[in-house]
Amino acid sequence: MLSYIIRRLMYAVPIIIGVNVLTALLFFRVNTPDDMARKILGEKFVTPAAVENWKKDHGYDLPAFINTDEHGAGIVTQTIFFQKSAPLLWFDFGRSDRNNIDIGREIRGRMWASLAIGLPTFIFAIIINLFLAMILAYLRGTLLDTWGLFICVIMMSISILFYIIGGQFFLGKALRLLPISGYDTGLHSIKFLILPVIVALIGSTGAGVRFYRTVFLEETGRDYIRTARAKGLGESRVLFKHALKNAMIPVLTNVVVSIPFLFYGSLIMESFFSIPGLGSFTIDAIQAQDFAIVRSMVYLGSILYIIGLILTDISYTLVDPRVVFD
C-alpha cells in the first residue's frame, strides 16, 4: 500500500512539472513583463525608463527560458521561468506583483473562508442528494419517480447565475431573512454563510440526485441484490443496507474528486457573496492581472487535483477490500 502511494506520488512529479512549464508559457505570453510593469506603475506619467527599472527591481528583466548572456548553469537559472515559476515546485509562492504581499500567507489566511462555505455545501450536498436519490430509486417506476426525475432535469437546466440572483433577491432583499452578502470571522460568519450554502445546494441538487439515482439503480440490478430480495428482505432494507454499501465506489469517485474545490473555492459564489476566500482571490487577481497570484493558484489547483486522484484510488481499497494494488 505504502509503496503504491509512493509510486503514485512519483508519477505525479512529471505532471506537476508539466503544469508548471505550461502555466509559465501561457502567462508570460499573455502578460509580458512590460504589461505588468505598466499595470502596476499606474495610469499616469509612466516613462519607459520606469518600466525598465520596475522589471529590474522585480527580476523580470531576464529572458523567459534561456539566458544566452550567462555561462554554465546560469543559462537556465538566470531566467524568468527558473526564478519565478520553478520555486512553485517547492511551494514558494513568492510575493504578488502588484502590492508585494506574501502569496503563501494570503492563501493560508483565505483558505478558511473558502472552507467555511465549501465544507457545509459539500457535506449537505452529499447527504441531501444521496437521500433524495435513494427515495427516487426506492420509488422507481412510479409517477413520483418520473416527476422527481423531471424536476431534476429542470433544475439542471437553470444557470447557477439565476439561482444566485434569485436567492439574493428573494431571501435577502424581499424577505429580509438573510444578509445579502458579506462575511465575518468566527461564529458571526454563520448568518452570512446560510444563503450561499442554500444556493449552492439548490444548484447542485438536480445533477447530483440524478447521478446517484443511476448509481443505485445499477447496483439494484445486480445479482446479489436479487439474491437479497429473493431471501425475502424488504425493499428498503435491500436498498439502504446492501445497495448503499456497494454504491460507495462510484459515489466516492465523485466525492473525492471534488475535494480540491473545497479549498479552491467557487469563483462565482465567492465573488457574488463577497466572501474573501481563494476563489475571489483568484478572480481579483485575474481582473487586476496579477499573474504571480494566478500562477500560484493554477499550480495549487493542479496539486489538489492530483492529490484528489490519489485519494480516490486509496479510498477504493478502504471501501472495497477486493481492490488491491500491487
Binding site: 504589461d35 505598466r38 499595470k39 506603475l41 499606474g42 499616469k44 506619467f45 509612466v46 516613462t47 519607459p48 520606469a50 527599472n53 529590474k56 527591481d57 522585480h58 527580476g59 550567462e70 555561462h71 554554465g72 548553469a73 546560469g74 537559472t77 538566470q78 527558473f82 526564478q83 519565478k84 520555486p87 514558494d92 513568492g94 510575493r95 502590492n99 508585494n100 504581499i101 506574501d102 500567507r105 494570503e106 483565505r110 420509488l139 412510479t142 413520483l144 439574493q168 433577491f169 435577502g172 432583499k173 424581499a174 424577505l175 429580509r176 431573512l177 444578509p179 445579502i180 452578502s181 458579506g182 462575511y183 465573488s271 457574488f272 463577497s274 474573501p276 475571489s280 482571490f281 492581472q289
Partner: protein
C-alpha cells in the same frame, strides 16, 4: 500657506510676480508645529537602554505574530523637520518606486541626481550579490529575505534641507506655483526613521506587515486593521493634536447646519469601518437597510433615489426622503473624453477640412443624450478640458464651445448645433453623407477597453451616433493592456479615455493637449498627439502664472484654438452624488480634500433604532412555502403507500 522666495541665477531675490525664465531657484521654507506627536506604534517602542525594541526580531519572537496588534509595546515621539526631509529623499529611492518621481525630479533640486546615484549603487549591490552567490542566484527571492536597504543619511539632497528641529527647506530649480498642491499630497507626509527601520525587517514583510498596510502618521485616525479582502478599520488617534471644528465656513454653511459643532474637539467618530462590497445589488440594498452610513448612487438605483425638481435641480425622491436620507452633490475635477489621433491620415491633421470633419463628429456625439442614458444626467457636457471649479472654466455664454454650441439667449442655456449643420460640415470636409470622394463609406476605428458588463451599450451608442453622419465606426475593444499598447504606438483613430486632476490647476488639464507631452512622440499623456505651436507657446506662458485676469485671458485663447482644431470630442465632467443617512452629520463633499472623515459625527442610537425598524424579517411567506411543500410531500407519500401497499 508656504510662500516661496524666488532667486535669480546670481542668487538675488526676485519679486513673486517675476517671469519664469528669470527664476533660477524657488525656495520654500516650511515651519512645522511643535506639539505634534505620532500615533502610538511599536516602531517607537524602546528597550530600557534606549535602543529600539522591535527592530531586530528573531524567528522565535516573530512566530506568533500575525498582525501589528501582536506587538504589544507602543510608544510615540514628536514630529520633527527631519522626518519631512527623509521622506523627500525617500522618493528618489528606486526600491520605493514613487509614482510621482518623474514629475518632481523636474523641479526639486538634485532629486534626479540622487535617484541616479541610488540606482547606480543598487545595481552595484545587486551585481556583487549575484557574483557572490553564483549561477543559482535568484534575485527576487534573495531580496525578499535580505532586502536592500539604503541609508538615506549617507545621501545628500541639496533640494531638501533641515534648517532646525522644526524648520525645513525645499529648493526648486524653476518657478512652479503649483508646487504647493504637491505639498498637500501624501507624497510629502513625514516619515520617521524608526518606522522605516522597523518595516525593513524581511521577517515582518513575510507576515504581510508592511508600511503600506500599516502606515504611521500624526493624523486623526490610525490603521487598526487592514484586511482589504473584507474590511479596513480606522480608529481615532489618541495622540492627535488639538484640532477643533471650524468656527466659520462658506456662505450658506451656517444655514445648512454645518457650523453646529463649531469649536468642538476633532475627530468625532471613534472608529470607521470600510467594507468590501463587490456587487452593486448588495451594496445598495445594504445601504437602504441601514448597514452602511453612506452610499454613492449607481445608475440602476438613481431613479429610486433622485428626481429632478422644477428648476432642474436634483432632489431626492419621497421614498428616500421618508427614510431621512440626505443628498449631496459635487462636481468632480474629472473629464471623460473621446478623441482623435491627430497623427492619423484620415481623422488627424490640421487643415480646415479635417477640422470640420472633427467638429461635425463632435456635434453628432450628443453627450447630453449620453448623460441621460448612461449617467441619469449626472454630469455636464464639456466645452473644454477644464471642469467646473478649475480656474479657467467659465460659466455662461462666454464659456461655450462655439464650434459645437450656440447660445440660447432666451433660456440662457447652451444649445448643441443641429445635425443638419454637422452634415453640412461633413460636405465641406469632403465627406458628403459620410462617403469619401470615391464614394466609399468613411470607416473610423474606435479603440476602447470597455470589456465590462453594460459597456457594450456604450459602444453601441457611439456606433449609432457616428452612423448619423454616415460614418462606420469599427469597434476595436481590447483588454486594457492592449489598449494602452495601441495608444502608445499611435495605432488608432478614435479612442475614449479620462483624466482625473492631480491638483486643481488648469495646467494639470491643458497639458493633456501640449505638443511636447504627446504620447506617441514623447511618451507623455497627450493621447490625441495634438500639437499646435501657438497653443504650446501660450501654455508655456500660462503654466507658471498665478491665477489672474491675465492668465484667464491666455487660457481663453488656448481653449479657442483647441476647440477649433477639435482634437477631442469634449466629453463630459461627471457629477458625483452621495447619499447619507439621517444619523450622519457634517458631510460636505470636496473632491480635492481627503481629510473630511474627522469632521463627521454620528448619532449611533438613531442608527440602531432605524436598523431594527427597517429590517424586520418577513417569515410569513417562508412559513407558507414550507407548509405547502410539506403538504405536497405528505400527499405524494401517502398516495404512494396506498398504491404500493
Amino acid at each position: 500657506m508656504p510662500t516661496p522666495r524666488y532667486l535669480d541665477k546670481s542668487g538675488r531675490s526676485l519679486p513673486p510676480e517675476a517671469e519664469a525664465r528669470r527664476v533660477a531657484r524657488a525656495v520654500y521654507e516650511i515651519k512645522i508645529k511643535k506639539d505634534i506627536r505620532y500615533e502610538d506604534h511599536p516602531a517607537f517602542a524602546k528597550k530600557p537602554d534606549g535602543t529600539p525594541l522591535y527592530n531586530a526580531l528573531t524567528d522565535k519572537e516573530i512566530e506568533d505574530i500575525e498582525g501589528i496588534e501582536d506587538l504589544p509595546e507602543r510608544a510615540t515621539r514628536g514630529l520633527i523637520a527631519e522626518d519631512y526631509v527623509l521622506q523627500i529623499k525617500r522618493m528618489a529611492d528606486p526600491l520605493v518606486a514613487s509614482p510621482v518621481l518623474p514629475i518632481l525630479e523636474k523641479y526639486i533640486l538634485g532629486l534626479k541626481e540622487l535617484e541616479l546615484k541610488m540606482r547606480e549603487d543598487l545595481t552595484a549591490i545587486r551585481k556583487e550579490r549575484k557574483e557572490k552567490a553564483g549561477p543559482s542566484y535568484n534575485q527576487s527571492l534573495d531580496e525578499q529575505l535580505n532586502p536592500i536597504v539604503f541609508d538615506y543619511a549617507k545621501y545628500s539632497l541639496p533640494g531638501a534641507l533641515v534648517v532646525d528641529r522644526y524648520t525645513y527647506r525645499i529648493i526648486l530649480k524653476r518657478k512652479y506655483p503649483q508646487f504647493i498642491y504637491w505639498l498637500a499630497m501624501p507624497f510629502f507626509s513625514p516619515m520617521p526613521r524608526e518606522v522605516l527601520e522597523f518595516y525593513n525587517q524581511s521577517k515582518l514583510m513575510a507576515k504581510n506587515i508592511t508600511l503600506d498596510r500599516y502606515p504611521v502618521g500624526t493624523g486623526p485616525f490610525v490603521m487598526k486593521s487592514f484586511n482589504p479582502n473584507m474590511e479596513i478599520i480606522l480608529e481615532a488617534n489618541k495622540n492627535y493634536h488639538e484640532d477643533r471644528y471650524p468656527e466659520s465656513g462658506e456662505p450658506g454653511d451656517e444655514a445648512a447646519g454645518f457650523l453646529a459643532d463649531s469649536g468642538k474637539r476633532l475627530p468625532f467618530i471613534r472608529r470607521a469601518v470600510y467594507k468590501l462590497e463587490k456587487e452593486a445589488i448588495p451594496r445598495w440594498n445594504k445601504f437602504l437597510q441601514g448597514y452602511y452610513d453612506n452610499s454613492g448612487i449607481s445608475s440602476e438605483s438613481f431613479d429610486q433615489a433622485v428626481t429632478f425638481g422644477a428648476a432642474g435641480r436634483p432632489e431626492i425622491t419621497s421614498f428616500i426622503r421618508d427614510k431621512g436620507i440626505k443628498l449631496q452633490t459635487s462636481v468632480m475635477p474629472t473629464t471623460y473624453y473621446a478623441g482623435f489621433n491627430m497623427l492619423d491620415d484620415v481623422v488627424g491633421g490640421y487643415s480646415v477640412s479635417k477640422q470640420k470633419l472633427r467638429q461635425a463628429i463632435t456635434i453628432a456625439i450628443n453627450y447630453e443624450e449620453y448623460l441621460e442614458i448612461f449617467n441619469n444626467g449626472r454630469g455636464m457636457p464639456a466645452f473644454s478640458p477644464l471642469p467646473p471649479g478649475i480656474f479657467g472654466h467659465i460659466e455662461g455664454k462666454e464659456g461655450i464651445n462655439p464650434f459645437v454650441y450656440t447660445w440660447d439667449s432666451k433660456k440662457q442655456v447652451p444649445h448643441r448645433r443641429s445635425l443638419e449643420y454637422a452634415k453640412k460640415l461633413m460636405i465641406e470636409a469632403g465627406y458628403p453623407a459620410g462617403r469619401d470622394s470615391k464614394g466609399r463609406p468613411l470607416e473610423i476605428t474606435f479603440d476602447n477597453a470597455w470589456t465590462g458588463p453594460g459597456q457594450a451599450d456604450l459602444i453601441k451608442w457611439y456606433i449609432k451616433k457616428f452612423k448619423l453622419l454616415g460614418i462606420q465606426l469599427v469597434n476595436r475593444t481590447t483588454d486594457y493592456n492592449r489598449f494602452q499598447e495601441k495608444m502608445r504606438g499611435g495605432n488608432f483613430q478614435f479612442f475614449s479615455w479620462g483624466w482625473n486632476a492631480d491638483y486643481p490647476d488648469p495646467e494639470n488639464f491643458l497639458f493633456l493637449l501640449l505638443g511636447s507631452n504627446s504620447k506617441v512622440r514623447h511618451k507623455g499623456e497627450n493621447v490625441a498627439n495634438y500639437m499646435n505651436p501657438e497653443f504650446d507657446r501660450l501654455f508655456d506662458i500660462m503654466e507658471n502664472m498665478d491665477n489672474s485676469p491675465k492668465r484667464l485671458a491666455i487660457i481663453k485663447k488656448m481653449l479657442r484654438i483647441a476647440q477649433k482644431d477639435s482634437p477631442w470630442v469634449w466629453g463630459y465632467h461627471p457629477l458625483s452624488f452621495g447619499l447619507y443617512h439621517k444619523w450622519v452629520k457634517n458631510i460636505k463633499p470636496n473632491a480635492m480634500a481627503n481629510n473630511t472623515l474627522k469632521y463627521i459625527r454620528l448619532d449611533a442610537s438613531t442608527r440602531e433604532q432605524a436598523r431594527k425598524e427597517w429590517n424586520k424579517p418577513r417569515f410569513l411567506p417562508v412559513a407558507l412555502f414550507i407548509i405547502i411543500l410539506g403538504g405536497i410531500i405528505l400527499f405524494s407519500i401517502t398516495s404512494m403507500k396506498r398504491r404500493k401497499g
